[in-house]
């Protein structure tokens, strides 16, 4: 296996308090024991170890500054960290920041432009959708602040390159038509829609049972609008799944059967499992207390424990293994398969939703490839 994404938790705290957050509101309190921000000593050790990992595996990877809110580092520390990372990794590794957008500023954008670092901003849609869950620590709406940050990003001389897109969490009770129209009018280059976290034991928001299709109906409406749009922006999750149906390759975690190699480094330099597993009762910690600067990342990635964790992403449920849609669905995110009693040996809790979505994709693609049959 090889690592293709490294997630750096450069800040363990956040300036927002989104009610659906898997770090702070899904039963895992490990962030309380983390330093608030990654120290320069830790990020230097991380940069050196990542350079060694790149040499060891002979291929680059993406590095994503994540959190918490990564821009809580502040401009000065962010600049130092990005310089060290870029110097260690060279131009071959993509470096990006996943931010809530509130703290975007001209100095930060200049730093990102200098180091060829792109930004993706979390924005769930129009204010009435976004502000329902994405509030600050005093429960105040954040949409206007996020939009202000995105406008600064779009205005920057390098904005077209720096702004990679928007990440939107789905509220199936919202109007998909309104959300699509909002993003269309806002002029975003790309949107990636994420389902809310949950599992068979603790159902995702808005889902009444594992067999219900609230998310499927919502995302299928988005798909129909997307396919009919004469000038569509990119929708990553739909593109990936339809590419798989067309015989192409997907790159998104939780879709398709390509293994993905994700290495998560926490704010104190410790190595963790896929952080979305915080939302399931089994958590995201390895039995071994691996730490950057003490243990080699290349050795960690090659260890039996890491390999075992890596292979756990492959679906094991007989329902999945016998399903004709597995090569597109991929069994979903590991954390969404959890159920008390059977662990992760289940289809995704969004199985019915994904069946509905893939069926509609097949209709659209079939109408293109086999117009007579689809008519």
């Amino acid at each position: 296996m090889h690592i293709d994404t490294v997630l750096l938790k450069v800040a363990s705290r956040c300036n927002l308090n989104c009610s659906y957050c898997y770090v702070y509101h899904m039963g895992d309190d490990s962030w309380r024991n983390m330093p608030k921000r990654m120290s320069p000593a830790t990020d230097l050790a991380v940069a050196e170890e990542l350079a060694a990992l790149q040499r060891s595996q002979g291929r680059p990877f993406s590095v994503v500054l994540h959190g918490g809110e990564p821009l809580l580092l502040g401009a000065s520390r962010l600049q130092g960290m990005l310089r060290r990372l870029r110097q260690a990794l060279g131009p071959g590794c993509g470096i990006s920041i996943q931010t809530n957008g509130v703290l975007i500023s001209e100095p930060i954008l200049d730093i990102c432009a200098d180091q060829n670092v792109t930004l993706s901003v979390s924005l769930d849609g129009p204010a009435e959708v976004h502000d329902r869950f994405r509030v600050d620590l005093r429960d105040r709406a954040t949409h206007a602040s996020v939009v202000k940050g995105i406008e600064a990003l779009k205005r920057h001389p390098a904005g077209a390159h720096l702004f990679s897109g928007v990440l939107a969490v789905v509220d199936p009770r919202s109007s998909a038509e309104d959300v699509y129209a909002y993003f269309k009018g806002f002029g975003v280059p790309s949107v990636d829609f994420l389902y809310r976290d949950g599992n068979h034991t603790d159902l995702p928001h808005g889902k009444t049972s594992p067999s219900s299709t609230e998310y499927g109906r919502w995302i299928t409406t988005i798909l129909d609008l997307y396919v009919a749009d004469p000038e569509p922006f990119r929708i990553r999750v739909l593109d990936d799944m339809m590419k798989l149906l067309l015989g192409g390759v997907g790159v998104k975690e939780g879709v398709g059967l390509t293994d993905y190699g994700i290495l998560v480094i926490d704010t104190d330099g410790s190595v963790k499992k896929n952080d979305t597993l915080k939302s399931s009762p089994l958590g995201d910690s390895f039995d071994s207390a691996w730490k950057t600067g003490v243990h080699s990342l290349a050795d960690i990635a090659a260890s039996p424990a890491f390999q075992s964790y890596h292979l756990a992403q492959r679906p094991t449920s007989t329902i999945c293994l016998e399903c004709a849609l597995l090569k597109v669905c991929g069994g979903g995110m590991l954390t969404h398969r959890f159920k008390h009693g059977s662990g992760y040996d289940n289809p995704t809790v969004f199985c019915a939703d994904q069946q509905m979505l893939i069926a509609r994709m097949k209709e659209h693609i079939g109408a293109v490839l086999h117009p007579a049959r689809a008519a």
């Binding site: 996943q98 990440l167 994420l194 593109d239 015989g247 004709a324 069946q355 293109v368």
Partner: protein, 56 residues
């Protein structure tokens, strides 16, 4: 068709994707077809799986 039922046999065979020259009304699907064709030629792979997580 009932959305809960999957129509079999509508996935694309590689030769279909390569040889399709009929006009495609949907720009989104046309764009994907062009990208899949390019991938089949140079097998390019993106390393970027950035945008798949909730941010806080």
């Amino acid at each position: 068709m009932d959305n809960g039922q999957v129509a079999e046999g509508l996935e694309a065979a590689p030769e279909e994707v390569q040889s399709l020259d009929a006009p495609i009304d949907s720009p989104a699907i046309r764009r994907l077809l062009e990208e899949v064709r390019a991938e089949q030629v140079d097998v390019s792979r993106s390393y970027n799986r950035t945008f798949n997580r909730h941010n806080r």
